[in-house]
Structures are given as structure tokens and as C-alpha cells.
Amino acid sequence: MTLECDITLRRDGFTLATELSVASETVAIVGPNGAGKTTLLRCVAGLTRLDAGHVTLAGRALDDVARRLHVEPAQRRVGMVFQDYLLFPHRSALDNVAYGLRARGVRPREARARAHAWLHEVGLIDRAGARPGELSGGQAQRVALARALAIEPAALLLDEPLAALDVESRQDIRRQLRQRLRGFAGPVLLVTHDPVEAATLADRLVVIEAGRITQAGTVDEITRRPRSAWAARLAGVNLYQGRARDGRITLAEGGEITVAGGCHGAVFVAIAPAAVALFRTRPEGTPRNVWSGRVDGFDSFADRVRVHVAGRPPITAEITPAAAAELDLAGGGMVHAAVKATEVITYPR
């Protein structure tokens, strides 16, 4: 069962234009807030209408703007777990899970029996009679998942499934959720802003920024060759876009970088923070890339310090606490950043 979507949607100040194909796997949609991730999910569920494009699930067209086709959410057999779970507050956990079955015409007794089985699956049979208000965050999440799975959907959508949980419950629930998703037979689309959650739960990641897919692949592929600001943050590298010519790259962020290898044309430039050395006075020596900038802030960790330097281009350097003390970073001021050409990684854009 494959989910295919080619979605174009115009909002004020925003155009979502994405093309996606999901087989029987779990795909995490990641990216900054406001990039259009939840909107994408809503389009697949049928809650938001497309301006152009189509959505097809298991060969059946759910949306086709050209043919003016729009299948209502109720007819789609797409299960959705919402960010705040949205369990019906006036019904018990059991009735919540049975809701979809009853809505589709299953007899009350059979619906309750199947709902019982699902609650047993998620380990909440003893809370069957509880109201959603009486459940903990983790329990509510599991009931919401059971409710979506009870209708035996062809595809499953999850919008920030762990966001509403406190840190303690999150790990446990994440582990259970991973098992449940592995066991699900169809495509799963999962929206999250948390890279760890994405890496743990999904087979593949799709990075959406400003309404467009900027990168897709496994966590490994994405962090090895980041092609988006989000991926760069995940990988912990400095990422730039530039034009390469004869071993020199002109950066969109300002400045020029000299590289060792041969590359040409539009490229991404990645520099690991650990490859950046900082000096108070302009150094002389082998590094080809030396430029100055203002210390724009720094983050201290147990065994290292990340220093943000505002220059052309801006860069984050990683140095030892001792070195940071020597540099007297607290005073701010100007520093020189140096990067060896051999430490600069480039790949085509």
C-alpha cells in the first residue's frame, strides 16, 4: 500500500509545494515550525483542501484537483493521532476507541469487544472506564493511538505524537510507539520537530522548510550530507551555499572559502565546528581560510565550548574550555577564525 501525494497549497505568505511517496514504511516529516508539516498531514487526511495536485492511497485517488475529486475524511480510512490527542471528553476511554467502529456501523457489542482488544494491546485495559480527563499524558496518547488503529486504517498519520508528554514518559512511550509503528502494515507519516524522535521512530526523514522539501533520506544520509539548515543543525555542522570556481567558493552568506578538492558550480559547503580554530590576533601559517568576526555569544558544555562568530561568513567554532578561558570570550570583541582547506567538505547542490 503506497501513499502518493503531490500537494500544492497557497496560504497567505506561504506556498506548500511537496511531492512525496510513502510505501509501507514510517516517514518522519521534520523541519522548523511553520514550515507546513501539519498542513501536509491535514491534506492527506482530507481536512484541508489542496489548490493543485493529488493524493492517492493504495491506488485509490483521494484528492485530484484536476478532476475536482475530493474524498471526505470520513471516507478515507486514514487514521490520525492529533497533537493534543483530542479524546472526546464526554466519553470513556473504551467508548473513544470504539467511536470509529460505531460510526462505521459496527454493532455496539462487537465494537466494544474490539475496542477492549485494542485497549489490551496498548496495555490500558484497566483504564477502560476512565474519562480522558482522568488519564495521564502517556495513557491518553496510547488511547488516541488505539482509537486511530481500531478502524484498521490503510495509512496512519501522527502529528507530534510525543510533544505533549513530559520528559520522563517520553522515552518509554517512544519505545512502545516504535514497536507499534513497526507492526503497522501501511504507510505512516509522522510529523515532529524533534530530531531524536524522528531518528528513533522513522525509517526515512523528509525535511520541509518554508513549504518545500529541501532534503530526504535516512538519518545517516541526511547528517552526512546536510542540504538544509534543519539537517545542518541536526548534524551539528556549519552549512553554507556557494558557487565554486577553481578551488574557491563564493558563499551566499558572504565571504570566500578555499577548498582542497576540485568542485565546480553550485555547491553546499560543510565545516565541522571542531575544525575551526580561533585566534585573538591574525594568525600566520598554513590555513588557507582566515577571516575575522565578532564573538556573538557562546554555549558552554561540560567538555567543550561552542562559540558563535558573526563574520563573513558567520561560523560556529568548538574549542576546549581552557582555550575559551585563554581567549577571554566573555569580553566579546573580535576574533579570527581559521579553517584548513582540507577540512572543508563540499558536495553538489
Binding site: 470520513a74 470509529g100 460510526a103
Partner: protein, 265 residues
Amino acid sequence: MSASDEPRTAVPAGVGVLGALGVVLLTLPLIGLASRTPWADIPRLLREPSVLQAVRLSLVASLSALALSTVLGVPLAWLLARTDFPGRRLVRALAVLPMVLPPVVGGVALLLAFGRRGLFGQVLFELTGWSLPFTTAGVVLAETFVAMPFLLVTVESGLRSMDRRYEEAAATLGASRWTILRTVTLPLTAPSLTGGMALCWARALGEFGATISFAGNLPGRTQTMPLAVYLELESNPPAAYLLSFLLLAISVAVLIALRDRYLGQ
């Protein structure tokens, strides 16, 4: 934070006095009414035909008006809250107008629309030989006209403030629009629905101006409790006081039931 934790504010001299006067103005009439109610005579008075008729008629008419208001008002509230049809704002303004219109003016307007020679009433009379003024049905119509907006406004507000995402969740689970309305929307807006119905009923029960000018003052047919009070005030004061007290008691009961909600909290 309980009331005792909040720092006590010093009350400016004038504010305290004026506030106390306000309390007197509002409560003295009610105390006066309660004190003049002829408690000893209640059994005898309740058996008087004029009193009994008025009470029975008021109950029948006000409950009918409530039913009609609910059947027409809830769908209209849903349309106003959930759809965007052309002229929606105008419809809403008109639907709320009876709340502000002087009731006797409402009665005159009803007369001009549904009276024997009115816009619609003329057609009705020519087709069926029947007209609304001076009938119990006319009372129900007058009461519905003034009371329905209360239900409409409350239910519309409840629908607007409800989290629509519950309806979306129900849709993804396979519920049809009618099922969503029945199993999600109405249960979640039940508090505003019951509150609106209570307000509507209380208003219908107490209506005077529109009733007397449209339906007239015929005992047993159109003489509701408020009209009976007005009539009996000269000839049979104890009966008037009793009826007044009954209406007051019902109003207080409705307020307690609503517990400060939906009344400009």
C-alpha cells in the same frame, strides 16, 4: 489564590455608599414582594379560576415557545456559527433585534405581519379562515419572538467557542456530518444549550408587552401570568401578589440553575 489571600483593598468612602444604595434599590422591591405575599391565603387563591387558568396557560405557552425556539433556534445558531452565507451578518443582527426592541413594539410588528389584515396573516385567514391574534397560538408566537434570540445567542456562542478539532477527529474516524453533530457537537455544547433554553423559557414566561398587544388579554386563552398580574392588581391584589411571587420564585430558580453563567459574567 483564595479570597483571604488577596490583599484587602481600602474602599473609597463614596463607592461604598453608592454601592449600598444600589443594593437597596435592587433588593428592596423583591423584599417588599416577598413580605406582602399572602402566605396564609395561598391554598384558597390557588383554587381561584383566574389564578389557576393563568398559571396553566403560562406553563403551556412558555414551554411551547421554548420548544419552537429550540427547533428553529438551534439550526439557525449552527448556520450562523458554522457557515458563511451571503447576508449572514444582517440575519444575525435581525435575529438579535427582538432582545433590544421594546416588547410592545414587537407585538405591534407581529400584528402587522400575522394579524388578520397583516402581511402573512391575511393570506392565512383567506386560506383557512383562521387568524392568530387572540389565540393561545398567538401567545406562543409572541413569546417565541421575544425569547428565541436568547437561546440563539447562547447556542451560537457555545458553538463558536467549541474546539472544532474534535469534529475533525470524529471525521477522520469515519463519522458522517449528522453523526458528528449528534455525538460530538451537541454533547460538547450541551451546557450552552441548556443555559440558552433556561434563559429562553424564563423570558417567554415573563413576556407581557408583545403578548398583550398581539394576543390580547382573554382569560384562559391568552391571559398569561404577567397579564393576570396586571389585571388583578386593581380588583384582587392578593392574587396579583401571589402570581408575582410565583414568577419571582421561578426567576430565582433559573438564576440558581444557571449559576452566573451566560448572564454577562
